[in-house]
């Protein structure tokens, strides 16, 4: 019983990460019908930029070297316990999310927009190109090795390991943080898209780009925004991923990227709530499969779930019946 609970909590944690990344795939696909293969690299960049930010915010020596010496009093606070740690995390998310979001907008502007009226294969290849470029850029200019996601002294960024014990299962602080943050971000995004004027413009653009333009929507700005939001959320997931598993590497985006894309397809690609549902579902199924069947088979099982869903509901769980827009 407690093993079941443990695996479920692990699954929700993993699912929160998948959902955050899946949103980026689904937002872009919903508007452009483009599978943004470079999105997994936004997750990876988030991991790296986040690590740098965390180090600068927590390590007086490094901050001094980089000319951020003035941060010392703030660092003292950030290093002083749970509240400080959470605030440091918030700052890290804001900085990394914004930077990676800008990278996302740059890829849109220079790699996808020029190809917007080209055959659909062209932007797909452009996406793969960006993915290879970004991985190799990190490999060459940062490191080809696994980097530990830890403070200068090698300890974890999280000050307290266990948050609480539930039915005899220890729930870690990281898990609580990941679950709470991902759900908060998902709800915030959902509200933004459903209720605000800009959110409505995004939905209109996804449904009929020309008609949205005729209503006065600046379609290019809406697309740019989708390319900011997706990567920013992906960056948050990348940082969490680094902290949760303890290290990062230049190719860390690939598997979570494929899984999150799978989650988006399971939920119904193009459908925001579908991506959230698909993310959590996949995370939980994968964890349970890994715990009760075999760890080695969890990827296989994830893809079996995909195939079963696609056979039963080709458009995904919350997707439209398959109507391929041309």
């Amino acid at each position: 019983m407690s093993y079941l609970i443990e695996q479920t909590i692990n699954g929700i944690t993993l699912g929160g990460l998948y959902a955050l990344v899946a949103l980026g795939y689904t937002l872009v696909y919903g508007i452009l019908l483009l599978i943004n293969f470079a999105h997994s690299e936004m997750f990876m960049l988030g991991g790296y930029i986040g690590l740098l930010a965390l180090k600068v915010l927590s390590d007086p020596g490094l901050a001094d070297d980089l000319g951020f010496g003035f941060l010392e009093p703030v660092q003292a606070f950030f290093n002083s316990g749970t509240i400080g740690f959470i605030l440091m995390l918030v700052v890290t998310f804001l900085v990394s999310g914004a930077l990676v979001g800008v990278v996302g907008m740059i890829t849109e502007r220079f790699a996808y927009r020029p190809l917007r009226n080209a055959p659909r294969l062209a932007p797909l290849i452009s996406a793969i190109g960006i993915s290879i470029f970004l991985q190799n850029a990190v490999l060459l200019w940062v490191s080809s090795k696994q980097l530990p996601y830890s403070r200068a002294d090698g300890s974890s960024f999280v000050p307290v390991k266990t948050a609480f014990t539930l039915f005899g299962v220890q729930v870690s602080t990281m898990q609580v943080l990941i679950i709470v943050t991902s759900i908060t971000l998902l709800l915030a995004l959902d509200t933004f898209i459903a209720r605000t004027r800009v959110g409505r413009a995004m939905r209109a653009t996804a449904q009929d780009r020309d008609a949205a333009g005729l209503m006065g929507v600046d379609v290019n700005r809406v697309i740019m925004l989708a390319f900011f939001i997706g990567p920013a959320l992906g960056a948050v997931a990348g940082i969490f991923n680094g902290m949760y598993y303890g290290s990062i590497k230049y190719n860390m985006g690939f598997i979570p990227g494929v899984k999150s894309f799978t989650a988006a397809v399971i939920g119904g690609i193009g459908n925001l709530r579908g991506a959230m549902l698909g993310g959590f579902l996949l995370g939980i199924i994968e964890s349970l499969a890994s715990g009760f069947i075999s760890h080695a088979y969890r990827d296989v099982i994830a893809f079996i779930v995909l195939i079963v869903v696609l056979i039963v509901r080709p458009g995904g769980l919350l997707g439209e019946s398959v109507t391929e827009k041309v």
Binding site: R200, D208, G213, G216
Partner: protein
């Protein structure tokens, strides 16, 4: 003597789809308070003409002017912000949004939030069917209701020039009558309208003037009455022998 500035003047536009020249030098104008109609066979270039005016298609040559200001070459959302509003062919409502949200999209660029409620009321007064269905998704409306919604959405933008592309296409006669009555009513209240129609008889009856398009060129123009009695128009577009 000052001649009044036309609301819209299209001067010798050539528009292309790839290498296909869909418009081969179209010129036309619409004056304040007029209903002007464009008629022509399928593929004559009617939709391309209004899409060029709206900025969805950019002309290779020629210009489009709104109250004397050149608007050709501007992006579609900028043209919309100047009050050029289109009810597109096939309605193109947002099918996964409610009726109310569709109307809100029509008012997307409006700054005067205070007048919004009044304008919605006005649309519901023109099309009471929409009021009953305000929370229904656009895609679940009937064809006629979708056309009403497309027109209501356009009116929410407070157009200075309203362009309608085949608003009666595929609709039952009662709904066609309602659409034409609405067009006349809006016009009698001062709205300037450019109307594309397959139903040439009806269009020429309500229009002040009309243009006949054939393969990307204007081949005839005149008042509604002149065109209605024109031999060539009667044969080609009014189905008479």
């Amino acid at each position: 003597m000052t001649t009044p500035q036309p609301v819209l003047s299209v001067e010798g536009i050539h528009s292309f789809y790839g290498r296909i020249e869909a418009l081969k030098g179209i010129s036309l104008h619409v004056d304040e308070g007029e209903i002007v109609t464009l008629i022509g066979a399928n593929g004559a270039g009617k939709s391309t003409t209004i899409n060029t005016i709206s900025g969805l298609v950019t002309p290779k040559m020629g210009s489009v002017k709104l109250f004397g200001e050149t608007i050709s070459g501007l992006r579609v959302n900028i043209v919309a912000s100047k009050g050029v509003v289109q009810v597109p062919e096939g309605r193109r409502i947002f099918s996964r949004m409610t009726v109310l949200e569709n109307l809100e999209m029509g008012a997307y660029l409006r700054k005067d939030k205070a007048e919004f409620a009044g304008d919605i009321k006005r649309v519901f007064e023109l099309f009471p069917r929409l009021a009953e269905r305000r929370s229904q998704k656009g895609g679940t409306l009937s064809g006629g209701e979708q056309q009403m919604l497309a027109m209501g959405r356009a009116l929410m933008a407070k157009p200075r020039l309203l362009m309608l592309d085949e608003p009666s296409m595929g609709l039952a006669p009662v709904v066609v009558d309602l659409i034409f009555e609405t067009i006349e009513r809006l016009n009698s209240e001062g709205m300037t309208i450019l109307l594309i129609e397959q139903n040439a008889a009806k269009a020429l009856t309500v229009a002040n003037r009309g243009y006949v398009l054939e393969v990307g060129k204007v081949v005839l123009e005149g008042s509604g009455r002149e065109l209605l009695t024109n031999e060539r128009v009667r044969k080609a577009y009014l189905g008479e022998e």
